[in-house]
């Protein structure tokens, strides 16, 4: 079902350990690139502050039960979200939607059907 993916930008358009906002099927999506080179897509909407800002958060890691988890911290009030699952590490009852991503030929494609 390659037709569900939207090309958003080149991998090189995202600095290591940062994010960009992209528009995918009307949705604001935050696309992140980690130090290890993984790419993740989450909803750009921060449910705590109710603003569309997650792509502007600082990307880093947090140790959870001995594991190193890639996270983004909301630029608004610093809650950390697990880039893989969208789960908020500071309040496990909150989760933001995550979207499938593929990197092909140096381009990033996101499936935002949810």
């Amino acid at each position: 079902m390659t037709s569900a993916y939207t090309t958003v930008c080149a991998l090189a358009d995202i600095h290591v350990e940062s994010g960009v906002a992209a528009l995918v099927e009307g949705r604001a999506v935050a696309v992140f690139r980690t130090y290890a080179g993984d790419v993740f897509a989450l909803s750009n909407y921060d449910p705590f502050s109710r603003a569309s800002v997650l792509a502007r958060g600082i990307v880093g890691t947090r140790t959870v039960e001995g594991r190193t988890v890639d996270v983004v911290a909301s630029p608004m009030h610093k809650q950390a979200f697990d880039l893989r699952t969208g789960r908020c590490l500071d309040d496990p009852s909150v989760r933001v939607p995550t979207y499938d991503v593929v990197v092909a030929d140096g381009m990033i494609l996101v499936d935002a059907r949810g």
Partner: protein
Amino acid sequence: MHTRKRLVVAGHGMVGHRFVQAAIERGLTETHDIVVIGEEPRPAYDRVGLTSWFEVGSAELSLLPSGEYDDPRVRLILGTPVTAVDRDACTVTLAGGAVLDYDELVLATGAAPFVPPVPGTDLRNVFVYRTIEDLEAIAAAARTACSGAVIGGGLLGLEAANALRGLGLETHVVEMNPRLMSVQVDEAGGRVLGRHIEGLGITIHTDRATEAILGDGRCAGLRFRGVEEPLPVDLVVFSAGIRPRDGLARAAGLEVAERGGVLVDEQCRSSDPHVWAIGECAAPAGRMYGLVAPGYAMAEVVVDALLGGAGRFEGADMSTKLKLMGVDVASFGDAFGTTPDCLELVFNDAVAGVYKKLVISADGRRLLGGILVGDASAYGVLRPMVGAGIELPANPEELILPAASGNGPQLTLPADAQVCSCNNVTKGEIEAAVDAGCHSAAEVTEATRAGATCGSCKVQVKKIVEDHFAAQGRTVDRSLCEHFRLTRAELFDVVLVHGYRSFDEIVAAHGTGRGCDVCKPTVASILASQLSGHVLAEGRHTLQDTNDAYLGNLQKNGTYSVVPRIPGGEITPEGLIAIGEVAREFGLYTKITGGQRIDLLGARMEQLPAIWRRLVDAGFESGHAYGKSLRTVKSCVGSTWCRYGVQDSVGLAIELELRYRGLRSPHKLKGGVSGCARECAEARGKDFGIIATERGWNLYVGGNGGAVPAHARLLAGDLSTEELIRCLDRFLMYYIRTADRLQRTSAWLDAVEGGLDRVREIVVDDALGLGAELERAMARHIDSYVDEWRATVEDPEKLRRFVSFVNAPEVPDPNISFGVARGQIVPAVPDGPVLVSGAVIPVGGAR
């Protein structure tokens, strides 16, 4: 039916003030109206710190800066002596004739300086040293004098001598006894002290009884008994002890002690059950106490008695510790060894100017007292041992030998050992305050008052707090975050020593993981301080908080604020119009900030470059309102326009704001410059505040507004502009190097070992020899400053990030919308994420 009683307090000095505070705190005002009558023109002030008036002025010394108590049932009448007490009618008469009824009367009239009955005391330029008015008169007379003498070489006399020296006079101290400070120190200690003081250029005359003050209308010299040659001096200050002011009590027929003072019982009640006396005017068991701590204790006892309590005043600890002209002097317990069969242990290093004596019980097991001159660092440990019944270690000499000989014996004070003698706080109470949730010595001081009066026990309080943390297994973990087991200051040094240029290098060498929102902006700030490049250079925008990453302050709806720099708050009409036009064109909300500039709110991220291009073209630059960096230097209009101004505060504020603009720091930094003592720029509410004097500038540091307001404290006085800038360069750089993340200057000054005094030694006196390096670091910052916004709008690479969507830069973020209030835009908050089509997606779990 209850009728309220009236309590009259005669006297509003330190002890009268403490009485009223205690009465309010303990609920005495629920049943009593209190009228306090003060003779001096101002509310109570810190008389113990009187000498610092020459540096800091009256406001800083005040114990009641607002001029009134925060309790409507207390009335304060100032500038009015009580002239008579009528015990039959239960009234007091005030100067001016007013008569007040009382149910209870508390005498807190203090003491007066003793002036010996010698000829010439009525001449001009003959002073005492007791009130702010006395000091004002001395300062005025010193302008036309070259030399001065203080009669009395006690504690206060030496303070007065230091003041005369500070006023530029050739200074003499005249003492009847064979040594200085004869109440506190013995002969050997007095000799060591004398040498220190003579080293400062003060001449000491011991064994001298003043027979007459010479002069024709004005003091010209002193004649001593049995000495032919008079001592020529232009002014003289008497500091030959104090006498209780018991005149009101005598006239009212109350019993007084043989050596003066209102005779009171253990509850401080006089021979009339409705008249009480506290402080220096009182003589419990016939003895008067010339220190503030016993006076405070008496105040508490009387409040307790009026509440029906049984508290008693049972004498006081007369221990003293002070720093006189830079020399530590301490005396405690049985300092002169009057206990039968006691033993003395003495360490005397005449070369270093250190004298220490311990008085020990005959069996060698208990400490009875001691004297310390030149180094009183052991006082905090030694004084509580007296009377606390702690067994001395087997090698008590270790207690006074220089620290180099080892770690010293470990002593554990019992919980009931008194640590703060001014406010009678025990070690147990300090530990209880920690258990009750205090996180630092500063919080303990706030909660218990331990260390809040003379400050001599502060080091001891800090140690008890830290030991108590350690005993509970609580360590004060100062690591930055899970990625760095270092403090910010340690990280700063590591970066400096190794010359790192990137987060990757630093985390690889000294950290773990890939960082977070705490350590990354900290590293970015440290790199900005050391490399002085653009904050977004070399990919460092990924380390920055969104504010620094987009050079704007993120607002609640995801938009940013735009604040152009307006140095010192000075702006031309053209500048105002340019800002107004930009705001109108981009539809921004405008508001005047507290820092004397203009905030433009509601800018979408993708609009920022266009807005700033317009502002840069109109001559503006970044105001760094988004950064942990210098914000503004606020000013009043100053001597250019103001009819009271004495210096050009606007000119200096602009110079300083331009000098330090762009400087990254552990927290935001604000400055202020006032052109005269009226302080219209509120400079002492700033991290650095400068107030003009007739002779230059006073520099205050460590102020801030916010949730925990702090009043800036004097770092150095009467500086030339050049000296001021040198001090400030060093101060700011030292703060940037050593403070913790998000630690403002006030908290930093409290946390530095040795506090403001230590920072002054380092910054003003260059005690560590760091001055030149700190100045060079600041010079590098100034030389390499570039306007971040100009550099951004001129760099296509940097501009690439300023888009709403990477794949749809022409579509504005639909999540941002505005309403209107009072004619301007305001953020409208949607219920959930907004699609470009306009639909709202409900989000589960969001709050």
